[in-house]
Symmetry: C2
Subunit: 333 residues, 2 copies
DNA sequence: CCCATTTTTGCAAGCGAGTGCAACAAGCAG
DNA sequence: CTGCTTGTTGCACTCGCTTGCAAAAATGGG
């Protein structure tokens, strides 16, 4: 079964009684075709079910319209909503997303970029992991655009979109301080990616500025399960924290559940919690979590706008602000 | 900036001192090339950073290796995990996923399929919505494979993967009956898709068989928020249900939160709840929801296996079983 | 009505690869 | 040495499209 009998421009041309170029031009915005021929071509195309072959077009035009999204653990709420925003906005800019899942091995971000090159993607957007410099250089040299979201490592020529994590962490500290908390803790994973570390640094720095100790605990990856373990570790300390900033919401949910059901602590009266990302679950009544919102639409918009530019601007780094979403997991507010 | 200077087979051939065909054959498994030339080609390719142009290859071979995933609201937990499974398994079968987001307008499933045709996708997998017959016919006629997941409407030639929703609903009823419940309710959305309706039918049918009334309430879409509204409606009835089967987990979470925080009902002692999908949140301590697991890996495996077949089998419909995951939202167990 | 513009149209040359075919080389049996 | 098989290689055509170029048609001004 390799019938694969797509109808080609030739057939449309024959049926419409015009040349193949006429068909081509009909489907090329801005090309010179008379109203009459265009009508006949459209009609024939409709009747035959013709669709321009984007593979062939990409080959000729030397631009495929494809943008690769490189991501692991894509069912994580934050990732999923970012992907949703990106695919939506890419489509509005008449590009199409190829999704490459890098869950498997470690070098697979490199593999993913090779795929991107093979399909002559116009650009790649990296949401997870960090590829080797040699391969990113190859991408850039080949004229493929590169967007790094929350990756932070430098790659000249690539667009880097980051949040102001340090500042958010600082604001979180102040909010907790105003809520009357005095024993601060930071619940982190062991992932140690730049943006996660920036949150930790920012929170610690704020502590130092106010002359207050900040307990830091790190465990596993940024998941619900890690949150539970971190709760275990933090809440059994001699001086129990009354304020915990969690490196992301998923972890915060796990931590809150453990605090509540395992340690019988009431949030926010006995323990204040702040998260990061503003995933949907943060707004659920059970959590009602005060958190920082990832501006997914802004992120996607910046990325797509940059891809649409003819010549990428000088400044290829964006630092976006994460807004604090006040909910019930912190007193006051 | 349209440099786009990818290296071509010609350049590799020149550098290796062989013909272009030799390069082509080197990268075509099973083609006849001597060990010596292959070595030289590989070496030159490596040095130049050559990657076969999949656009051109797809054009010639008349198969692109692209599979379109057509989906809306892809940040929904169940959808996201299905996408993760699909992309992972497609890649293992050396195919690549194109993700088409159909959030926007209503006819956009049709639009998506047009895109799939334009990119000469080998197949399309539809997770949301239902395209017009005319366009699916065009896909099939063009030799493009079609997979419908939980769509249920018939399309000859397409693979249809469904769950045994009716049976799951029946088992759910029996479990609730055994838990000692007597006032049964079914919380549904107004989406009315076949698989959701099958769950409702199945649950009602089980009720009839046991001579017990089943209250059905429908509202909005299958979201957390709808769950809250449905709780409001169901739990204010003169005879309050003590067993609610929710059409999916998201809705169940909303319903449980409302039951708990708004109506002060304890789960499972005063109210038993069963969901569907087994999203990650169902396992969180706050919900600890008894539910039916969507066999996402099986679904993905069936889809990919069918795509790999040279000639699609006669029987192009799969009905998979959803396993009951016992947790704490139902007494006993 | 004629000539100069402008618009439309078709031809043909690519884009980067795969592959049938024939030429060629090597290996081997007779 | 000849004839034949087996394995490699290059030529040239093809896939479906875009686009520069020049010819043809349409338009308009004088």
């Amino acid at each position: 079964m390799s019938r694969r009998i797509f109808v080609s421009a030739k057939e449309v041309a024959d049926r419409a009684g015009v040349s193949r170029s006429a068909v081509s031009r009909t489907f090329t915005p801005g090309a010179s075709v008379s109203e009459e021929t265009r009508r006949r071509v459209i009609e024939a195309a409709e009747a035959l079910g013709y669709h321009v072959n984007h593979l062939a077009r990409g080959l000729m035009r030397n631009e495929s319209g494809i943008v690769c999204l490189i991501v692991s653990e894509l069912d994580t709420p934050y990732r999923a909503s970012l992907i949703r925003a990106l695919t939506g906005q890419l489509q509005s800019a008449s590009k199409i997303a190829m999704l490459i899942n890098t869950d498997r091995s470690d070098d697979s971000v490199d593999q993913a970029l090779r795929q991107a090159i093979s399909y002559r993607a116009d650009a790649s957007i990296i949401l997870s992991g960090m590829p080797d410099r040699s391969i990113t250089d190859l991408c850039l040299k080949s004229g493929q655009r590169l967007v790094l979201i929350n990756r932070d490592e430098d790659r000249d020529g690539a667009l880097m979109i980051n949040l102001n994590d340090r500042d958010a962490a600082r604001r979180s500290f102040i909010a907790l301080l105003r809520a009357g908390c005095r024993n601060f803790a930071f619940a982190n994973s062991e992932a140690m990616t730049p943006s996660l570390m920036a949150r930790e640094e920012g929170f610690r720095a704020a502590g130092r500025e106010h002359g207050l100790e900040v307990t830091v605990e790190r465990f596993g990856s940024t998941t619900y399960q890690s949150g539970a373990v971190l709760a275990q570790r933090l809440l059994t300390r001699e001086t129990r924290p009354d304020a915990i900033f969690c490196v992301n919401d998923l972890l915060a949910c796990g931590l809150m559940d453990a605090a509540r059901f395992q340690f019988n602590l009431a949030v926010p009266s006995e323990l204040c919690v702040v998260g990061f990302d503003d995933i949907e679950q943060a707004s659920w009544t059970s959590y009602n979590l005060t958190t920082f919102a990832q501006p997914v639409d802004r992120i996607a918009a910046e990325a797509v706008a940059w891809l649409d530019q003819v010549t990428p601007a000088q400044t290829n780094s964006r630092r976006l602000e994460a807004d604090l979403v006040w909910r019930g997991s912190v007193r006051g507010g």
